[in-house]
Symmetry: C2
């Protein structure tokens, strides 16, 4: 039994060159449409066809090693529950990046630090984007690994990107809507999931700002577990009765609705995210929806700018693409 196939050889550009009866350089030129080369159409086709016939695929590691630039971009996703919102964001970002020949991959980062290091070491991405600012240590590591662009950039750290970027716009809009309905004493209810606390702060702050701007007292903020009884207790416990409540997201809003139902009371509630379940609630949930696709596109664009050397501020309008979906709960 001859082990003729001990090592299954990879098809290289040399093979293509041989097949086409040309040199590797020529092959490389046409495969990359290297600018500043005038290749006759006939030659072009010969190369292309040879490549197709052989099923040639350029080998990324070699290409990257030589050119010094990878074309993968890494999105580090937060630990928190990923709604449809996040999926949309990533998807649009991927599209925009693809337009520039870059490939987006994601990784949800669940905590352990070395984990992140292994990640960019293994990938050698051209750029990295994270939903939260990176630590100084992480930053240093990526820099040493020659990662060209990292967002959020240090200048905009200090604020959590999530909140700075667009999440406090949500809180603000929730409050504005309620205020527009004549409500004056609001509550802001956050989930007790620790992973969400930073974002919760952001949204609550947004609401507080809106109240302040309207000359109203800032909302009471409460934190609850996702649990009917706890929600009821919280609602019952507000000493100064509230006239309406903003929920961090639709799940919290649903919990609140359930709690109030148990209590036999009822207060207007506005959620956020417009999850599918929102419309089936009793009463159907009024909520704030956002077009995260737009945000994803902006992030991608900022990344692209950063890769071009233009230091880019990721200037996202905080309220881009946010709207309230009015149903019956508020």
């Amino acid at each position: 039994m001859t082990d003729q196939k001990k090592t299954k050889r990879r098809i290289t550009s040399v093979d293509v060159a041989r097949e086409a009866g040309l040199s590797r350089a020529t092959v490389s030129f046409v495969l990359n449409d290297t600018p500043g080369q005038s290749i006759p159409e006939a030659t072009r086709q010969r190369v292309l066809q040879a490549a197709a016939r052989l099923g040639y695929t350029p080998y990324a590691p070699a290409r990257t090693l030589r050119s010094g630039r990878s074309d993968v971009v890494l999105f580090v996703l937060p630990d928190w529950p990923q709604g449809p919102t996040m999926a949309e964001l990533v998807d649009r970002a991927a599209q925009v990046l693809a337009g520039a020949g870059l490939t987006l991959v994601t990784h949800v980062h669940t905590g352990r630090d070395d984990d992140l290091a292994r990640l960019w070491t293994a990938l050698a991405p051209a750029a990295v984007f994270g939903m939260r600012p990176f630590t100084a240590g992480e930053r240093a590591g990526m820099k040493r690994a020659n990662i060209a662009a990292v967002l959020p950039s240090p200048e905009q750290s200090g604020h959590d990107v999530g909140s700075t970027l667009w999440l406090n716009g949500v809180g603000r809009l929730q409050a504005q809507y309620l205020i527009g309905k004549g409500h004056t004493r609001l509550a802001y209810v956050l989930p007790d999931d620790p992973r969400l606390s930073a974002l919760g702060q952001g949204r609550a702050e947004g609401a507080a700002q809106a109240c302040a701007e309207a000359g109203l007292p800032v909302p009471i903020v409460s934190t609850i577990p996702l649990d009917t009884a706890a929600a009821a207790e919280t609602v019952a416990g507000w000493r100064q009765p509230r006239t309406a409540v903003c929920a961090y997201n639709d799940e919290v809003a649903l919990a609140l609705l359930a709690g109030m139902r148990e209590l036999g009371t009822s207060l207007p509630v506005i959620g956020a995210d417009d999850i599918p379940a929102a419309r089936f609630a009793v009463p159907p949930l009024t909520t704030v929806a956002q077009d995260s696709g737009e945000l994803g596109a902006r992030i991608a664009a900022a990344l692209l700018r950063a890769l071009n050397g233009e230091p880019s501020q990721l200037d996202v309008l905080p309220d881009a693409g946010i709207r309230v979906v009015e149903r019956e709960s508020a």
Copy 2:
């Protein structure tokens, strides 16, 4: 002005070798604990310290090019809405793979085919896993790109992995639960999202099997948009009245509940996934929950086996870690 820094040079193992006063080979040996080498502890430390001092990070593309093996694993995620379920699956899989020195990255595949090709071309992963079987073309491409392991493997194609793997277990359990409560005429309701149709089939089939095994007629299967009115219409339209209904997932179940509320009728309903909103429904939703972490671990293990050359069947018990969460809707 000397442009000493025109190109920010990467720190290489040569630098480490120089810093340590040793050769590159030695450096490589200790950094990879190459087996079959006896390096004196003193030398070892010298290398390690030099590396640390310089902040050296090995450059993956070069390493991959030379060794011929990448340590990236790619998970191609389906287009469909990602529940907490999927997150858990991915997370556990990542952990297991990390244990073997592999790094998992994900990419949600939204359709366009060339997209996928660009993906593995750019990454040159050691292995790829997809939630649905890959097409022959995709398979061929990956093979040419020398990707060592691709799951699901061809032998198990034909069935959608989703359903084969664990999703029809869900349908089966839903039906069994209802049958155990004495119900005899079931309906299975699917969402009209085309992306979900394959999975829907799987779950519905599982339920059908359970019915058949119990000597009952198979469930009527209906497809509805996520919409109260449509749900009501569907429920009202069943000519042979049903005694209970299985929903593809909790969102469909919630729609059904809302529809029946509108109709003033009420039928036992069981959902699937146990999303947070389920417990806040009116009535609180009985549902099937699954331990996807376990599944993720199994997938990772199968991948590892495949990478070791052992052809691996990804033998997942269809019902592993599935249980019903009994609340009030059924």
